[in-house]
Symmetry: C2
Subunit: 501 residues, 2 copies
């Protein structure tokens, strides 16, 4: 059923971001089939979508998020990554299918409201992923109207087993309590993944599966190899949090006698389907390995700041030819799904790491990461991340009268450095308005918000015991990881004041 | 004329941010006179302002902005501070009184839309400040409905004279062209300042004056001393960009043989009325001097990232007892007036500079900087920055149904880590709604936006020659400053990868 429409009267961001001429878009069955001047479109008699006073940009692509995180918004304050993980069993545990649906829908809705139409979602079901859970997540994204790649987060070792020496550092009876958070043997989890991959029924360009052995240190080597084989057999993506914290980087040298990247390379995990999230504590050899294997990096500058994990070496990755996307990360680690903020940080945090402005990430580079590069990481490059003939019509309508875009000096700079999502008016996915002048067209957002508030309250009671255990463990985790963190490491991604040394 | 109102049905953020109980506010003549439980307010028969489904927080206080910058939104990309200053003559020059008004009004309007009700505005008139210009700026803020401290930016040396060796490094005829940007002798500027201070007629809690010798290196010592004396004689604030860039820090050692702070201290400029903007390249002795003199720091984490100036040592400043506020900086250097983003960055960038989470800026500390501490810096501490009996009713109404605040887990964390201004619905200043459900009540914002677009277009033509000169100078400025930047300095505020050394 072909449905032809004309989006008329707007300014369209040029692919290189340098200008935004008035152009009308002809869309047939969800695909952009022509981009014409206002004069040329006068004769078009199809359904008209009014884009007067609107700037049209491609839907942003979120290369790394966690849909489950939306219910954990604003839960922690001065949490390192390891303190966040220590909170995992209460932050994300004890959830029913209804809770899992609400969390994913809330994440998708916030993305849409803030101009993002596609995401790579590493979804956490504790204690173990289920095919049913992943199907529920897919349905939530589809109900809201966003595209998604869904990767269950996988591990067979808890934080306490994964960080060298941590379990042994705990006093009894805390060690026993930490033991309660032990995970399933990997064979069980791998079997669930196999079912999940084999039973997938959603259309691949709307929702598709992937696998996320979440953190290499949290997965035994045989599990990593199994994930590698499963992903290859089913032609899906592999996504891992790689060298996110200094604690992880130091731990890898202790446990593997080599860096995390070198270890994954030796296991044959790296490849063109592999996305490394964060990739902060990479050395030059790690970067060369990622490049040689055609891997991508999902850069999450917001959560990197929030969790104090450091500044990723993005210029070096780009120089090496590694594809880089931008992610918001989960709402429980940098607490919104605002990709405009993420893209701004992608440009700006690079400037903490180099005095030479020619080495900074430019506005154009950052925007590309958040659009076409992200789409390539999601394996949607031909479908989205650009407004071009042949691409799907995933389009964000921004209000040109909003102060964020006034004066309209330079489109790409305005989008990257100024826009904060307050100018988002409407969002089209696949040629259909999913947000129309601030109102969702496909579901009742107010009802979702009420359900989310209720769910949070219910979960507060259900997770009380896990929360108490995590609270008792917190200071031990903090102390042990801080000691690890202070061990020497051959690269530095944080500021070290020479006065102190 | 007393006008009593009751703001009813909202949740009110507690001063420590830990909770937000349902409370009704009784406001008389712009001042909060009572805070009562919903039951207690039932009998109140005054005018009712409906705050159902709203979270009420104090209007945020912007400790450092530049109203002129709004017309320069998104103008540069990989600009260091010095490259921004090099663009100053075209970016902010050739403006009529109408342009100056529009720029200030646009800045104020964006502040209000994003939940900020008061600002310390360092306003730049090029080539020299005028009492008329400053009066125009005050009027613009008052017309929009925001409180403001207005400090003309003052200098008697151009960038090319201020940076040691820069003028000499320029080839002829560029040196002569840079010479065109020379500034007035300081006596003339000081006389204009005196008139500005003596002729001030606005009510002090709505708009009041201050002085901003903009960058110490750009002011001769006699000028700095004159500013010091003028400020003391009139009881107004002094505000300076202090040790913002590495180039400045290194330049000070060359020119003064001591740090910028030590130099200002020797000149007697430091004191309780002194606010240091940025304060990045401070050493421990500088910090002690600021503390001993009762000075404040306006922390601008957004522009510090954007211009690559580094990460300010906020924990050290707090430990020393220095008052710290948060600023958005000018829209021409970090290109919006979103104080929610600024407060988030204030918490999060501190985490690049220390591995110990106990040393990070907490959510509560950051929010305090952006409210009560900022109000103290603006010398409005008894009036605003808090919702308490006796304070003026400067109140932001946030939509509790907005996803940013869902689930409503922890108020202070949500405000600092999640909120991005998309939930701002209404803003009250001095007990009067200046923004009511997204619409300004006191002026026509759409008309302002049109005037701003027209002004930008007009200025593009008027400043073409200055722009051309700046473009020719750019690569010389970049090269010279990069060399200075690479000279050793005893503290480090950027990441230096040990692998490279």
């Amino acid at each position: 059923m072909s449905e032809k429409i004309c989006v008329r009267g707007g300014r369209v961001l040029e692919p290189d971001g340098s200008s935004a001429p008035y152009r009308d878009l002809i869309i047939d069955d969800g695909t952009i089939v022509d981009i014409v001047s206002p004069e040329e479109s006068r004769g078009v008699t199809t359904q008209i979508v009014n884009a007067t006073d609107r700037l049209l940009i491609p839907g942003l692509v979120n290369a790394h998020t966690h849909g489950h995180g939306s219910l954990g918004r604003g839960m922690g304050d001065r949490w390192t990554l390891e303190l966040l993980l220590n909170a995992g069993p209460w932050l994300s545990g004890k959830r029913t299918m209804e809770h899992k649906y609400i969390a994913a829908a809330l994440n998708a809705a916030e993305m849409i409201l803030k101009g993002c139409t596609s995401a790579y979602d590493l979804y956490f079901e504790f204690p173990a992923p289920t095919p049913e859970g992943m199907g529920t997540v897919a349905q939530a994204y589809r109900d809201v109207g966003a595209r998604v790649v869904i990767a269950p987060m996988l591990a067979d070792m808890s934080l306490y087993e994964a960080v060298p020496g941590l379990m042994d550092s705990l006093p009894e009876p805390l060690r026993r309590q930490a033991g309660q958070f032990a995970l399933n043997p990997f064979e069980e989890t791998a079997a669930a993944c196999q079912t999940f991959l084999e039973s997938w029924t959603h259309p691949a360009d709307e929702a598709k599966p992937a696998l996320a052995p979440t953190i290499p240190l949290h997965c035994s080597d045989p599990f990593l190899e199994r994930c590698r084989d499963l992903a290859r057999a089913h032609g899906v993506g592999l996504h891992t949090h790689l060298a996110e914290s200094r604690t992880q980087a130091v731990s890898a040298l202790k446990r593997y006698g080599r860096t995390l990247t070198a270890h994954l390379d030796a296991l044959g995990v790296l490849g063109p389907n592999f996305t490394a999230a964060h990739g902060i504590w990479l050395d030059d050899d790690d970067i060369a390995r990622l490049a040689a294997n055609g891997c991508a990096v999902a850069h999450n500058p917001g959560s990197n700041l929030r969790l104090g994990t450091g500044v990723a070496p993005i210029r070096k990755l780009l120089d090496a030819g590694v594809r880089v996307g931008v992610g918001s990360d989960g709402t429980n680690s940098s607490d919104n799904q605002n990709m405009f903020e993420a893209v701004r940080l992608a440009a700006n945090v690079s400037r903490v790491a180099d005095v030479d402005p020619d080495r900074w990430v430019s506005a154009g580079e950052a925007l590309k990461m958040a659009t076409s590069e992200g789409a390539a990481i999601l394996d949607l490059a031909t479908a989205t991340g650009r407004i071009e003939i042949g691409a799907r019509a995933d389009i964000v309508f921004l209000d040109l009268d909003n102060i964020n875009l006034v004066p309209f000096n330079d489109p790409v700079n305005l989008l990257v450095y100024s826009e904060d999502a307050t100018s988002v008016k409407s969002v089209m996915v696949n040629g259909r308005m999913v947000l129309d002048n601030g109102r969702f067209t496909r579901f009742d957002c107010r009802s979702l918000v009420r359900r989310a508030q209720d769910a949070a309250e219910e979960l507060r009671a259900r997770t009380a015991e896990n929360r108490q255990i995590s609270a008792q463990l917190e200071r031990h985790v903090a102390k042990h990881c801080l000691c690890l963190c202070r061990e020497p490491y051959p690269v530095e991604r944080l500021i070290c004041d020479p006065v102190k040394e």
